[in-house]
């Protein structure tokens, strides 16, 4: 079973992603902020990471940079409400950029693609 780490500060969204992605057949772990995510990554292996960008504490762009340094081979999906970060060159390091919407279809499709590689 493929393992996914979700980094998302919104409680309701954490629950939603966890349920929906588990329903797709993945083993899902959630972290509510970047610090927690880095802590989890120290001890566990994941096949893919989905992260928001703006969160309390250290923000997602910084997190991606750190994770890139830590685990270069893990695909990363940025999942955010902001369009504008697409122009931030730090986010180019990510493998996909998904803007949050009322449908999870795109997020699920990107994850499927990246894990099929």
């Amino acid at each position: 079973m493929k393992r996914i780490l979700i980094v998302e500060d919104e409680e309701a969204l954490c629950l939603l992603y966890e349920e929906e992605l588990s329903g797709e057949g993945y083993d899902v772990t959630t972290a509510r902020d970047a610090e927690q995510a880095l802590e989890i990554l120290k001890g566990e292996r994941f096949d893919l990471i989905v992260t928001d960008i703006r969160m309390p504490g250290r923000d997602g762009v910084e997190l991606i940079t750190q994770i890139m340094g830590l685990r270069k081979e893990i695909p990363i999906v940025i999942n955010t409400a902001y369009q504008s970060y697409r122009d931030d060159f730090m986010t180019w390091a990510a493998d996909a950029y998904v803007i949050k919407s009322s449908s999870l279809d795109e997020l699920k499709a990107r994850i499927r693609e990246l894990l099929a590689r």
């Binding site: 309701a12 629950l15 929906e20 409400a81 902001y82 919407s101 449908s103």
Partner: protein
């Protein structure tokens, strides 16, 4: 030895040489809190007042795209009126405010027949077929015209409007950009315009151009700041709306796409309901936030009354939640400048924040006092655990909140309101000893003194 001198007072009846007093009036009019047009009229008054250069009338043209358009025409319509105006202008103790009121009156009488004559005038700034008055700005030269009716280079419509044979054209340019032109004449005294009058008027023209240029740049800067703030707002709103929409859409789809037991249905609907409330709150706070209009002119109002009203409103909540509000409001607080409704909102915002930061059973201190002749200060002190230096640095940025469900707009709103009324906000915070927000309002008296 060190001697301190004040700047030369802008005095319309100065004992100083008239050149000095004229330059003093013109240069200091730039710092008056009036509109560009009003300030330009003061410059024109200085050019036409007895103690200034003493021209009889001054006509202003403003550049508008590739055209020079007739604007205001300041001066008497008859020798009798001229005497009357000069009398008004020689009243001792005359200040900018009186001059501006006088000018407004001049321009309002008979719907201003003189300005009516030049307002329809419009000249192309294109280089071919230059006629006077445009020649002066096109070539950036002071042009003294005598025997104008015999001069083919004077535009006949202009000549008909001005109705005199001798006048001086003063171009207003900055950085090669045409801003306008002032035309001066001695229609009533028939006094010949001398070279020294030309030099002095030219100097005033340079200063007026400088002023228009600076004022225009300032206007552009304010505009750009507003656009940048709007962009930031748009980004912030996007975030505030997309997150709840994502949750609502996702939990709705769950119910639509797969059978769910009663507990799950209920849970999803409750989440959706909560997110709807959040969206509603976004709309409410936003509407509120956008109500602050920084371009709105601050008016004097009774800060004491606003503050007491907010405190009274908070009283029941204080009692219910077990917090004490101690208020220390100076009874002799002078009126301050601002938008009373927005300032009421600011006070409410800070007091509610103090409430939420303070533990039950603690005390919130609100004080209002006159700091000096110019400023009134209001402070709100909470009993919370203080703000970290990192948080303090981001306190007024739009994304920042420490509250679970805050929009992060409250303090930004406070800052905007204070900026709009020319006031300030300061924060003092020490770990474990609470936080004090200190607002400073301009008092009405100071506003007067400036005028």
């Amino acid at each position: 030895m060190i001697e301190a001198y004040p700047f030369l007072a802008p005095d319309f009846q100065s004992k100083e040489p008239k050149e000095l007093s004229l330059l003093s009036i013109v240069s200091q009019s730039f710092f008056q809190p009036f509109s560009v047009d009003d300030n330009l009229l003061v410059i024109m008054t200085a050019l036409t007042s007895g103690s200034g250069v003493g021209f009889n009338r001054a006509m202003l043209f403003r550049a508008d795209g590739d055209k020079l358009r007739g604007g205001k025409w300041l001066g008497p319509r008859s020798p009798e009126e001229a005497r009357m105006i000069w009398e008004v202008l020689s009243t001792p103790g005359l200040g900018y405010l009186e001059i501006i009121e006088h000018n407004r009156w001049l321009l309002s009488r008979d719907a201003d027949a003189m300005t009516g004559k030049i307002a329809p005038l419009e000249f192309s700034l294109a280089r071919d077929n230059l006629t006077i008055p445009v020649t002066a700005v096109a070539k950036n030269e002071l042009l003294l015209v005598r025997e104008a009716s015999r001069e083919p280079l004077v535009d006949p419509r202009f000549l008909q409007a001005i109705g005199v044979d001798e006048f001086l054209c003063v171009p207003l340019l900055a950085q090669g950009e045409v801003l306008g032109e002032i035309v001066l004449d001695n229609a009533f005294s028939r006094k010949r315009i001398e070279p020294k009058d030309v030099k002095l008027a030219g100097l005033c023209g340079l200063m007026a151009a400088n002023y228009i240029y600076t004022a225009t740049l300032h206007q552009r800067m304010v505009e750009m700041e507003r656009m940048a703030a709007l962009g930031e707002m748009a980004m912030f709103i996007t975030h505030q709306i997309r997150n709840p929409l994502t949750a609502m859409g996702g939990f709705t789809d769950q119910l639509l796409n797969a059978p769910a037991d009663e507990a799950k249905r209920r849970r999803n609907l409750e989440i959706i309901r909560r997110e709807i409330r959040r969206l509603e709150n976004v709309v409410y706070e936003l509407a509120h936030f956008l109500k602050v209009d920084p371009s709105r002119r601050p008016e004097p109002f009774d800060l004491k009354r606003e503050l007491r009203a907010v405190l009274q409103e908070m009283e029941p909540r204080a009692a219910a939640e077990g917090r004490e509000i101690r208020a220390d409001i100076d009874d002799l607080l002078p009126p301050v400048l601002g938008d009373p409704i927005a300032v009421g909102e600011v006070l409410r915002n800070l007091i509610v924040n103090a409430f939420e930061a303070s533990p039950a059973g603690s005390r919130i201190e609100v004080a209002a006092e006159r700091r000096d002749a110019a400023w009134v200060s209001v402070s709100v002190k909470d009993a919370g655990h203080g703000i970290s230096p990192e948080a303090r640095a981001r306190l007024f940025s739009p994304f920042f909140t420490t509250k679970e469900r805050g929009m992060g707009l409250g303090l930004l709103y406070v800052k905007r309101v204070m900026d709009a009324c020319g006031g300030t906000i300061e924060v003092e915070s020490e770990a474990g000893r609470g936080t004090t927000f200190r607002l400073a309002f301009r008092s009405r008296e100071e506003g007067r003194a400036e005028a």
